[in-house]
C-alpha cells in the first residue's frame, strides 16, 4: 500500500515527520509535521533562522538521527524501522556528508581521509587508494595526497571533505553550512563545485545555509520557521521576510 505512494524517482521522501527533544523543561518540539519530496538531480537549499529545525531535518535525511514520528524513504527505501547497521550501510552507500567544520580525521593523510568511506564499504586497499587519488584530482588537490589536514587551508579541507563525500558515488549529497567557516570568496568556489557536481553527475544536493547568497546557487529553496516549512519553491521566487518588510 505504502509502496504505491512512493514514487521511485524521489531520492528523498519525508512524510509527516515530527521531532522533539526531551529537555528538563519538558518535550521541546523541533520539527512539526514536515513533508518533503526531492527528486534526483535537484539542488535544494534548506534555509531558516537558527533553531528553526533545518539542521535537525538534515540529520534525519542523513540517517544520523531518527524522527519521533513520521516516515522517511531514502531512494524508495523506508528507513523508519532500520537497525543501526542498516543505517550505517545507507550512510555509507547512498549519502555523502559535507560539514561546516570539515570533520576530517586529524592525524590521517588527505588520501586516507578520502578513502575512509571505501574502507567501510569493504573495498580493497589498492582500489581505495586509486579511487581516492582520482577524487582528489577531481577537486584539484592531487598534489596534496600525503598532506595532513592541518597543513592545508580551510577551503582546501572542505574540498577534501567533498571528495570524501563522493567516494562511494552516493545518490545524495548533504551539506550542513559548508561555507560557514570560509571567507566569501572561498565559499563561492565551494558552491561552484557543488553546482558542477549537481549538473555533471545529476547528483542530488541538499544544503543547509542561513545565507541568502549561498542559497542562490540552488534551484529550489525550502524555508523553515519554528519547525515548519514556510516556503518551498524555486529559489528565484523566494522573497525573504526582511525584504517583504521593506516593500
Amino acid at each position: 500500500m505504502a509502496a504505491t505512494d512512493t514514487p521511485t524517482h524521489a531520492v528523498v521522501r519525508v512524510q509527516g515527520v515530527h521531532k522533539q527533544y526531551e529537555t528538563d523543561a519538558g518535550p521541546q518540539p523541533v520539527l512539526q509535521d514536515v513533508s518533503l519530496s526531492v527528486t534526483q538531480g535537484e539542488f535544494v537549499a534548506l534555509m531558516g533562522p537558527s533553531g528553526s529545525g533545518k539542521t535537525t531535518l538534515m540529520n534525519i535525511l542523513g540517517c544520523l538521527d531518527t524522527p519521533t514520528a513520521g516516515r522517511y524513504w531514502l531512494d524508495g527505501q523506508d528507513t523508519t524501522a532500520l537497525d543501526s547497521d542498516r543505517l550505517a550501510r545507507l550512510r555509507n552507500r547512498f549519502i555523502g556528508f559535507v560539514f561546516q567544520g570539515f570533520n576530517l580525521l586529524a592525524r590521517v593523510s588527505l588520501l586516507d581521509n578520502v578513502a575512509l568511506p571505501l574502507l567501510y564499504a569493504g573495498v580493497g586497499r589498492a582500489q581505495r587508494r586509486a579511487r581516492a587519488a582520482q577524487l582528489l584530482k577531481r577537486v584539484g588537490l592531487e598534489r596534496y595526497a600525503d598532506y595532513m589536514p592541518n597543513q592545508i587551508s580551510g577551503g582546501q579541507q572542505q574540498r577534501v571533505a567533498i571528495a570524501r563525500a563522493l567516494a562511494n558515488t552516493p545518490k545524495l549529497l548533504l551539506a550542513d553550512e559548508p561555507t560557514g567557516n570560509l571567507d566569501s570568496h572561498t565559499g563561492r568556489d565551494i558552491m561552484v563545485l557543488f553546482g558542477e557536481l549537481n549538473r555533471e553527475a545529476q547528483l542530488t544536493v541538499i544544503l543547509v545555509t542561513h545565507e541568502q547568497d549561498i542559497a542562490r546557487f540552488a534551484n529550489r529553496l525550502v524555508n523553515f520557521i519554528d519547525g515548519r516549512i514556510a516556503y518551498d519553491g524555486p529559489t528565484q521566487e523566494y522573497v525573504p521576510h526582511s525584504e517583504l518588510a521593506h516593500t
Binding site: 544520523l64 547497521d85 550505517a88 550501510r89 550512510r91 555509507n92 570533520n103 592525524r107 586497499r125 567516494a167
Partner: protein, 406 residues
C-alpha cells in the same frame, strides 16, 4: 577488512606515542614480573630436583636405635645393633634393589704438605649403585678389597681439590690416622645435597677397613647405618613394612616392644622440600599476576580516556558508514595490539632481568617456554578483557551526538 582495521589501529597508536607507551607500561612491567618470578621459582625447583637426584632415588636410611648406659640414653644411632648381616638380609627382600651398609667417622687426611679434615666412610661396592655415584678416575673399590680390609681410598672432588690441587691423585699415597692409604680412584662431582651439605667432601674406604682399622667399632660387624634402595616409588611402603618385620625377627624383639632400629624415608623428606619450592614458585607467580591485572586496568583507563578524546573521530567514522562492529573492532584491535606489543617487550625485559639476577645473585634461573607463553596468553586475554568495555562504549555512541561532541 580486518587488516585495514589493524592498520587503522596501528596508525592511531603511532599518532600518539606517549599515550601508547603509558598504556603499555603496566603490561610490560606485569609480564616482565611474571616471567622473572616464574624463572626464579623454576630455578629453585631445578636446584632442589638436582639435589634430590644426586641423593639417589627411592631411598631408606636404617639407623640403629638409641643405647642406654646407666640411665643415660644416647641419641638414635648410638647403639650398635645393626650389622653387615642385617644389610645382607635386607638386600634379599624382593622389593629391595640394594642395601649398602656404612661405617663413617671424621679424621684428618694428609698428603705431602696439605691436610684436610673430612668424613671417612666405609662402604661396600653396593654403595655406588644405591647412591648412583659414578667413578671419575681410577676404579671403584671391590668386594675383594672389603674382604681384605685393604688400605685403599677413593676421594670426593672437594678432597681432591684440597689435597692435590691440579695433581692427579690416583696411585698416590695419603695418610689417614697416620696409616698409609693408596688412592685407587676419585668420585664424580655431586654438588650440594638437598639439606645443604657438600657431598663431594668425603673419602671412601672399604667397610671393613673403617670398622676395624680406622674407627675401631665396638662389635666387628656393626655398622652406623644402612642405605636401602627399593625397586620403585610404588613399593616404598611395603618395603618399609617388610624391613621392619625382618629386622624385628632378626633382632628377636618380642611383639609390642620398642624396635632397636629406626627407618627413615629419605625420598619422602626430599619430596617435602620439592613441594615447598613448588608452593613458593606458585606464590611468586600469583603475586606477579596481580601486577598483570593492574596493567590490564591501566589499559582500560587509558582506552576510556582515548574513547572520550576521540568521540568526534568516532562520529566521523560512523557518518561515513562505520557500523558499530567496525568501531568495536577498531578499539578492540588497538587494545590487543597494545597488549601484544607490551607483552613482547615485557617478555624481553623479564628474560633479561632473569639473566641479570642469575649473574649477580649466582642462583639458577630457568626461563621455560611454557611460562613465557602463559604470561603472553594471559596478557593478551587481559588486553581483550579490559579493552572490551571502552571499545563497546565507543561503539554505542550515537553518531549525531558523537559528531556534535567538542
Amino acid at each position: 577488512m580486518i587488516f585495514s582495521l589493524l592498520r587503522e589501529a596501528l596508525r592511531a597508536m603511532a599518532s600518539n606515542r606517549m599515550r601508547t607507551f603509558l598504556t603499555m607500561l603496566g603490561l610490560v612491567i606485569g609480564v616482565g614480573a611474571v616471567v622473572l618470578m616464574l624463572a626464579i621459582g623454576q630455578g629453585a625447583q631445578t636446584l632442589v630436583k638436582q639435589a634430590i637426584e644426586s641423593l639417589g632415588s627411592n631411598l631408606f636410611i636404617v639407623f640403629p636405635g638409641s643405647s642406654s648406659a646407666g640411665g643415660v640414653r644416647s641419641g638414635s644411632g648410638g647403639a650398635s645393633t645393626l650389622t653387615v648381616f642385617d644389610a645382607q638380609a635386607i638386600a634379599e627382600l624382593p622389593s629391595v634393589a640394594g642395601a649398602a651398609p656404612l661405617y663413617s667417622g671424621s679424621a684428618q687426611v694428609v698428603y705431602a704438605g696439605a691436610n684436610w679434615n673430612t668424613r671417612i666412610t666405609g662402604v661396600t661396592p653396593s654403595y655406588f649403585e644405591v647412591r648412583g655415584w659414578r667413578v671419575e678416575q681410577g676404579y671403584a673399590l671391590a668386594d675383594g678389597d672389603v674382604r681384605a680390609m685393604a688400605r685403599i681410598a677413593m676421594l670426593g672432588q672437594t678432597v681432591v681439590r684440597q689435597l692435590f690441587g691440579d695433581e692427579s691423585p690416583v696411585g698416590k699415597t695419603i695418610r689417614i690416622k697416620n696409616a698409609p692409604y693408596t688412592v685407587v680412584g676419585t668420585l664424580a662431582a655431586k654438588g650440594q645435597s638437598y639439606d645443604g651439605n657438600d657431598q663431594d667432601d668425603t673419602v671412601l674406604v672399604p667397610l671393613t677397613t673403617a670398622q676395624r682399622k680406622l674407627f675401631g667399632a665396638s662389635f666387628p660387624d656393626s655398622v652406623r647405618y644402612i642405605l636401602v634402595q627399593t625397586h620403585s616409588d610404588a613399593v616404598m611402603e611395603s618395603a618399609e613394612r617388610s624391613m621392619t618385620a625382618l629386622l624385628r625377627e632378626r633382632h628377636r624383639l618380642p611383639p609390642g616392644t620398642e624396635p632397636d632400629f629406626m627407618i627413615r624415608n629419605l625420598s619422602a623428606a626430599a619430596d617435602v622440600q620439592a613441594q615447598t619450592t613448588e608452593v613458593m614458585s606458585i606464590m611468586l607467580g600469583a603475586v606477579a599476576s596481580i601486577s598483570l591485572v593492574v596493567g590490564g586496568i591501566g589499559i582500560m583507563n587509558i582506552m576510556l580516556v582515548s574513547v572520550t578524546e576521540r568521540t568526534r573521530e568516532i562520529g566521523i567514522r560512523m557518518a561515513v558508514g562505520a557500523r558499530r562492529t567496525d568501531v568495536l573492532l577498531q578499539f578492540l584491535l588497538e587494545a590487543l595490539v597494545v597488549s601484544v606489543l607490551g607483552c613482547l617487550i615485557g617478555v624481553v625485559l623479564g628474560v633479561g632481568c632473569a639473566y641479570l639476577v642469575a649473574q649477580t645473585a649466582g642462583t639458577v634461573v630457568v626461563v621455560t617456554l611454557t611460562s613465557v607463553l602463559l604470561a603472553f596468553l594471559v596478557a593478551a586475554a587481559v588486553g581483550v578483557f579490559f579493552g572490551f568495555y571502552p571499545a563497546r562504549k565507543a561503539s554505542l555512541l550515537k553518531p549525531i551526538e558523537a559528531l556534535r561532541y567538542q
